[in-house]
Symmetry: D2
Subunit: 245 residues, 4 copies
Amino acid sequence: MKKMIIDERGKKYIVNNEDFHSDLGIVKKEDIINSKVGDTLITHLDKKFKVMKPNVNDYIDLMKRNCSILVLKDIGTVISHTGIGEGSKVLDSGTGAGAIALHFSNVVGKSGEVISYEIREDFAKIAKENIDNFFNGNNNVTIKNQDIKEGFDEKDLDLIFLDLPKPYEIMENCYDSLNLGGWLVIYAPYINTVETSYKIAKKLDFNNVSIIETLQREIEVRTQGTRPKTRMVGHTGYLLFARKL
Amino acid sequence: MKKMIIDERGKKYIVNNEDFHSDLGIVKKEDIINSKVGDTLITHLDKKFKVMKPNVNDYIDLMKRNCSILVLKDIGTVISHTGIGEGSKVLDSGTGAGAIALHFSNVVGKSGEVISYEIREDFAKIAKENIDNFFNGNNNVTIKNQDIKEGFDEKDLDLIFLDLPKPYEIMENCYDSLNLGGWLVIYAPYINTVETSYKIAKKLDFNNVSIIETLQREIEVRTQGTRPKTRMVGHTGYLLFARKL
Amino acid sequence: MKKMIIDERGKKYIVNNEDFHSDLGIVKKEDIINSKVGDTLITHLDKKFKVMKPNVNDYIDLMKRNCSILVLKDIGTVISHTGIGEGSKVLDSGTGAGAIALHFSNVVGKSGEVISYEIREDFAKIAKENIDNFFNGNNNVTIKNQDIKEGFDEKDLDLIFLDLPKPYEIMENCYDSLNLGGWLVIYAPYINTVETSYKIAKKLDFNNVSIIETLQREIEVRTQGTRPKTRMVGHTGYLLFARKL
Amino acid sequence: MKKMIIDERGKKYIVNNEDFHSDLGIVKKEDIINSKVGDTLITHLDKKFKVMKPNVNDYIDLMKRNCSILVLKDIGTVISHTGIGEGSKVLDSGTGAGAIALHFSNVVGKSGEVISYEIREDFAKIAKENIDNFFNGNNNVTIKNQDIKEGFDEKDLDLIFLDLPKPYEIMENCYDSLNLGGWLVIYAPYINTVETSYKIAKKLDFNNVSIIETLQREIEVRTQGTRPKTRMVGHTGYLLFARKL
């Protein structure tokens, strides 16, 4: 696991086992290697950095991103509803920048496995770098630069998560590839996509088929009083859940 | 990890390494021990059970519960927003029936740790049984039958999750016990509780303090058309997030 | 305008200019005729009734209803968004029990006009009785027991409100019948209905076309604290608005 | 009632019985006086304007506004829940730019009455102009440039609508001034205000006390599919309803 340091302005940096350069000065390689979470590192300009335990969201905030990222409310709903955790085997597509794969990887751990299909070569390359960087080479995620619609041969999956156009075209293949008890989850911004997917899920003998939409509101506490924020996100996407039983 | 079997009516049972008795007949111990996920087991009355890979939600559905349980939408939000995962160290209180501890345990894995405080002896006992049963004795959860308000000495925590009355009474202790980068999360049904907690979090130098409310709607697909369900859950509780930075 | 009386249990009754009989005793015709709002009437059993100014919602609560009724949140949205008021000319279909016609009638007043089409004879009959009873025969509402899909010849309408299957079949006729500045509003529980109507509205040169969904939450104030209610109505219907400009 | 004309770009203008000047040319006084809704007027530059029936929202869009205006979803909820309509007597405070008074006036009509209290002289002046302009001098609205907290002597009110700081300071006076069956409605952005008002309403023997929050989502129909809009208004204010019974 990499280290993260944070300066007094709250700016965060992932550090490697080498000298760290910034506008606040240089932190020496040895100081970084010998530090532990909570320590303070001093640059040659006498500026302070604190050593932090970064989490998956810190990494995602700092990594290279060339496309939009599934929001936390939807990722959380997928994890809690499907019950994936230590040791689970998960397939996702498309990879995008790798954020969802990182979240899945984070909860399935080293005894688990994440396989992620991405049709675009440029996306797959960046996602691979992001994930290798996260894991320091101790990796439970495999990025495949392939069109999942041409088929996939993974079996015994606990979760298949699809965020791609016309996901219903491969739902039969998904059914076959899931463990008994495994979940297919489809994320789609348009209701028409999940409507079609719902009908196909019913035909394919999936069970516990449901479509869920999650809304989150933030509450403001001011001196005048407490109230929900004036603006909120009205919609990201629908989540279709279907279980093989 | 225990096995789960499911009959043709969709009814699920956790099975141990012993003969299984039900109204559909008996499955022999050896058959259970030799089975793997996806296999079909036959009772002496010729009824079929399928062997499933149970997940944390299956266990929670089947375990003994004497109190209400945090809903999946809120558990998912806690996991995704705090970024806990493999190896995280989590403290929660009150334990209740142990459902939230099971969810945390499921995502932090064996290299992680969950400590759960419960003031009521009867709740702590049942939660302990539920969790031992889930893990078959290979346990990363410790239930403590203690009043967390009298103090706790765990350190270097990545997440403290509080679902108890007047959580703001121990927020200073929580701040001291968190890792740099660690999160305090408070769940409360009443806005007054999170309002008070918000003000104290600000005084205690917590960062990224926010209050979030999550709403989930289910969409129905019928032959006549598609629509959100007529009834929905309007409120469970607010989640206050505060990070030590 | 009729009078309403309310007993000490909060039960409300519409009264006519005749003796009033209830389980709490009899109020004499003369007492009713001579009373004004706020007065107390005494039965021969010495029970008290207060004389109230009933509003349109009181009438609707007490009238004969054989079908479901558009909820207040949707009626309010129609009135405020279309800006109908004194003197407006409104057409609605189907009438149902007449609740929406009563609401429209209430805000357009005697200088306005409401025409309401109902295909079912039994519904039209009850709605007519309900409305005659409300107005004591001084009526700005006309109920027509006709299928609006076979055509209607009202012109210069400020609002056409449709709550019926396949409303998009008569949208062209609606366009022709509206005043410049008039609104067509379609209420439908299924998203597919408003989706189709939206596309047709765009083709027909309607302006300001939008689809709105209204959610209402109720807040509870208890001694322990304040919170939204646990259960809420998740959906009634969508409202499509389209203006002729 | 004034006339409104609309040009081919969709821009709207209120016109008086005099020559109309714009960047598209001049429309003569006589043409305006002789026109009726739906007619086309031609400027001396040969540009076209159509004559429209303006509604209350058109007026409010075009009138002078120096402060924020209650949104339509909340106005609609007040009208439909309280059942005000032809002939109702309504008091509101503060007036602001007069938008809410115009909406009330629009539904209570000439047989009804609206009294509106505004503490600020500049606001009261503009509101008076706005309302006089709307009615052409045939007015059912009275603007009073007074602090309502110093008392008010209107009686037999069907609705009192308060949108001002600490509205609970005058709730007792409100109770006394309402008709039996009349409603007090309080609008407030902060939950603390309606919480306090709720408790006082209960002490004052108000009935049917409830707090409602209204959320509106807009649905987009695109060629790719149909979905709620990405952004929405998360909060405007709470509405407390309390009835004198």
